[in-house]
Amino acid sequence: MSGRASEIASLSLEHLEVVALAVAIAAVIALPAAVMLARRAAWRRWVVGFANLAQTVPSLALFGFLLPLPLIGGIGKRTAVVALALYALLPMLRNTLVGILGVDRTVRELAVAMGMTARQILWQVELPLAAPSILAGLRIATVATIGGATIAAAIGGGGLGVFIFRGIAMLDTATVLAGAIPAALMALVADEGLEWIERRFAPR
């Protein structure tokens, strides 16, 4: 039993690692992209369209597509992280964009009229006012990625999905639950924790 406990711990850790990496990559791409797109209405449709498309491909199929690709493909964690990052992209991109575009027009105009530079407006006005929406995007992406990462075990991504796939193969419910319960708990904790942070940034 202690053998299973330590395996749960190590697979949970691995799971977290994959999730953290995927969400971080998605954030690093989504945030600057959203800032740029907020100023370029013409590009917005195309980029959001692509992110939408990535979202609609079933995850197992996306893993399948990525497998034969050079560099990012192959069996292993890397493919899993790439696929999960693609999934996490859309909620973060869309929420950041909605947050920035949602800044009151008068407020933005006043910022310009008072002689704030574009950089000052971005950092002092737009991003702080968009923060609740940006954080909501991060929360949605994180929770979804925790779930999605269980499927990553199918292509050698490791993590708690290993238990689930093993349990299914062995027709052993206890093994399935050894993966499913910690994954569900992880998602719940992430959801609650990030929501708590979100509330602290809520408008007054």
Binding site: E109, G115, M116, L129, R204
Partner: protein, 253 residues
């Protein structure tokens, strides 16, 4: 010696519509030029053109004797105080931080900004101890406009641009702020362009009234002269003024 602000033959087209068709006016120190007109007459566009918020298609704007095209936009904007109808206060900042922003942008030291904020709050009739730490959502409409005016004054700009600053207030608060603004003008001697569609407010606030009709200047006159103006648009505005005084002659339904 030229006026602080000179607008020469200003033309402006927005979305294919000619909003301003050659407007010329000037405003000097201590002067409040009220831009009076119906909705869509182009009065707000003049303020936005002065701030460089809308592109102009002809004419020239000179600020402190220098054409706008030669001013760095950021710098010239910091020399103007702008107040709009719904305050435009930053909702995520306290009153203190909102008011202090222009002073911060002007590079004043933090202690000087705090001191200045207190001064300004008192100037617009708000107790600094009570209001410094509040957020805009914790203010009434009138208090927001007071804070917006304080903010516009923070960097001590020579020119104020006011776009219907009191239009959204109840009549009593509006009258109170109008009087206070007159007092401030006397004390500070700034030049101001003041946009309104309210003839009463125009007569009360103006040193000169510039009446706009369809993007062109219809009349420019002192309040006393304006009462005698003969153009159709001026008569229309003045008629609305007279009507309210004859309560006993109201049309009966």
């Amino acid at each position: 010696m030229s006026a602080l602000l000179e607008i020469r033959d200003l033309r402006c087209s927005l979305g294919g519509r000619e909003v301003l068709r050659g407007v010329s006016l000037e405003a000097g120190e201590g002067e409040t030029v009220v831009l009076l007109g119906r909705s869509g007459s182009g009065k707000t566009t003049i303020l936005k053109a002065v701030l460089g918020l809308v592109p102009i298609s002809g004419g020239e704007i000179l600020f402190e004797g220098r054409p706008m095209s030669e001013w760095p936009l950021i710098e010239v904007r910091r020399r103007m105080g702008y107040v709009v109808q719904d305050s435009g206060l930053f909702p995520h900042w306290t009153v203190e931080r909102n008011i202090g922003l222009p002073a911060v942008l002007a590079g004043r030291a933090p202690e000087a900004v705090v001191e200045r904020t207190g001064e300004l709050l008192e100037m617009v009739g708000l107790d600094p101890r009570e209001f410094r730490g509040r957020y805009p959502s914790q203010l009434s409409g009138g208090q927001k406009q007071r804070v917006a005016i304080a903010r516009a004054l923070a960097a001590d700009p020579p020119l104020l641009l006011l776009d219907e600053p009191f239009a959204a207030l109840d009549p009593i608060t509006r009258f109170d702020l109008q009087r206070q603004f007159l007092g401030l003008r006397r004390r500070l001697g700034k030049a101001a362009l003041f946009v309104t569609h309210d003839i009463r407010e125009a007569l009360m606030m103006a040193t000169r009234i510039a009446l706009l009709a369809n993007g062109a200047l219809d009349v420019i006159a002192s309040p006393a002269e304006f009462l005698e103006a003969r153009t159709a648009e001026a008569r229309a505005f003045l008629a609305s003024l007279e009507e309210t005084w004859r309560l006993d002659e109201r049309p009966r339904l």
